[in-house]
């Protein structure tokens, strides 16, 4: 027990220490080299900007996070749905799945300007882009999870006359859970990227818009403050998913659960 606690403390402690050292080195070098704040402000200036202008940051952070979570949620539901189709429909599996996989060579964020043309400069474009980029890892991970059933488990269920419906809910679904959470962890970070890119292209609000605006005003501390706030939010969203995962996928030892199904 004590050994475990010590291990966990080390697992958290070392990265924190390294981060602190990097920030310290950054602060010292900016000061001693006399780098202008417009090029690279020291961390202290970034934190000061975050504290001073938290109202502005939150005003723009909130709509971005809202769209991220919504787009992510849609991608989870849509991805699982399409994965079920891939698992059970030969037509979808043989016809559409390869097309879906090959279409991955399209850098999806390059479609952002097209979405602006189609859906306007409002929230709909951001939402759809977030959904689009987050959708594919969800689909691929979930379908991998549904397919990767041990042949013996399938046989065992059939000898006890399990129906397709029972095999899906009692075997395929729990079996896919670690993969689905792996997909969610990838999708949530991609959904953030989708929203931010869309806000870069055309938007009057959101943290992406604020970053671009601060860049135009040469207000580098504000820009870095916005990036920091965004990163911390992303980290929080990721942590929430990881937390739900360790609760839902209780049968996997924690060390495995962290990396399961990623890809």
């Amino acid at each position: 027990m004590r050994n475990n606690i010590a291990k966990r403390a080390a697992a958290i402690g070392w990265p924190i220490l390294v981060t602190a050292l990097i920030l310290l080195a950054w602060e010292i070098s900016v000061r001693t080299l006399g780098i202008r704040s417009i090029i690279l402000p020291p961390p202290s200036a970034v934190f000061a900007a975050m504290a001073e202008r938290h109202d502005l940051l939150l005003t723009h952070l909130w709509p971005s996070l809202y769209l991220t979570v919504l787009g992510f949620g849609l991608s989870v539901v849509g991805g699982i749905f399409v994965a079920v189709l891939i698992t059970y429909s030969a037509i979808v599996r043989k016809g559409f799945y390869p097309v879906i996989v090959v279409s991955q060579v399209i850098p999806k964020i390059s479609i952002a300007p097209l979405f602006i043309v189609w859906f306007g400069t409002g929230t709909l474009s951001s939402l759809l882009l977030a959904f689009l980029v987050a959708f594919f890892p969800m689909t691929i991970n979930a379908s991998m999870g549904f397919e990767s059933i041990d042949e013996d488990i399938h046989r065992m269920a059939r000898t006890f006359m399990g129906s397709r419906w029972q095999i899906f809910w009692k075997i395929r679904m729990p079996n896919a859970l670690p993969y689905i959470f792996g997909g969610m962890k990838i999708s949530i970070t991609l959904a953030i990227i989708g929203v931010i890119v869309s806000e870069f292209v055309a938007s009057q609000e959101g943290i992406g818009y604020l970053i671009k605006l601060a860049g135009g005003l040469l207000d580098t501390p504000l820009m870095l403050a916005a990036i920091t706030a965004l990163s911390l939010s992303g980290l929080a969203l990721y942590a929430i998913i990881a937390g739900v995962e360790s609760w839902a996928v209780y049968w996997q030892p924690p060390s495995d659960a962290a990396g399961a199904g990623g890809g």
Partner: protein, 204 residues
């Protein structure tokens, strides 16, 4: 696999109590080479899995499942997950699962082949004990001649390619049989007979 109704025979038909086997059926309980437990279910939930699939009343079968676990001496682990058990204990859970819906035939396909020699002998004794408390027709497939001779009332020797039955040997050793019995001359005579039958088929 064919008797369980998972694979159709290439020729002929299989009949259980005069009824043709055309697919998986209630009367069969199957134990595979590996335990194939569901990792997200506890021992007890795994044993009750067939009850759920067959849509039988869970409440009625839960005491039976606990009785089986007690008989297999793993009732104190009923709340644990499969990964917390040893290989031998997992296979015992699989045997309990195969028996829970009270099938008339127990089909065992090399159930102990993944276990080490000592555990394997222990499991054979355990299986005999479970069988004596719970008389079923057991069809037990094994590559171990000793195991076949130790457990069986009747051994059918199969040749490979084509897989045909080439010999039949009744084992009339008294029960309960103990591992010490495998040292006896009577037992070893039977084993030798079976070995010769198999070697003869290989030589052809």
């Amino acid at each position: 696999m064919m008797i369980a109704g998972l694979i159709d025979p290439s020729a002929g038909e299989i009949r259980i109590k005069d009824a043709k086997v055309a697919g998986p059926r209630r009367e069969g309980g199957v134990v595979f080479q590996s335990p194939v437990l569901l990792p997200w279910r506890t021992v007890l939930q795994n044993v009750l899995f067939p009850i759920e699939l067959l849509k039988l009343p869970r409440r009625q079968y839960e005491p039976r499942a606990m009785d089986l676990l007690r008989m297999a001496k793993i009732d104190e682990f009923s709340g644990l997950l499969p990964r917390q058990l040893s290989g031998g204990m997992r296979q015992r859970v699989a045997i309990c699962r195969a028996l829970v819906h009270d099938p008339s035939i127990l089909l065992m396909d090399e159930p102990f082949s993944a276990l080490d020699a000592i555990t394997r002998d222990e499991m054979a004794v355990e299986l005999q004990r479970i069988w004596q408390a719970n008389r079923k027709t057991v069809i037990f497939v094994t590559h171990s001649i000793r195991e076949a001779a130790f457990l069986s009332d009747r051994v059918l020797v199969m040749a490979r390619r084509p897989a045909t039955i080439i010999d039949e040997l009744p084992i009339d050793l008294p029960r309960p049989r103990a591992i010490a019995m495998t040292e006896d001359e009577a037992f070893n005579r039977l084993v030798r007979h079976l070995r010769n039958a198999i070697e003869a088929s290989h030589a052809e």
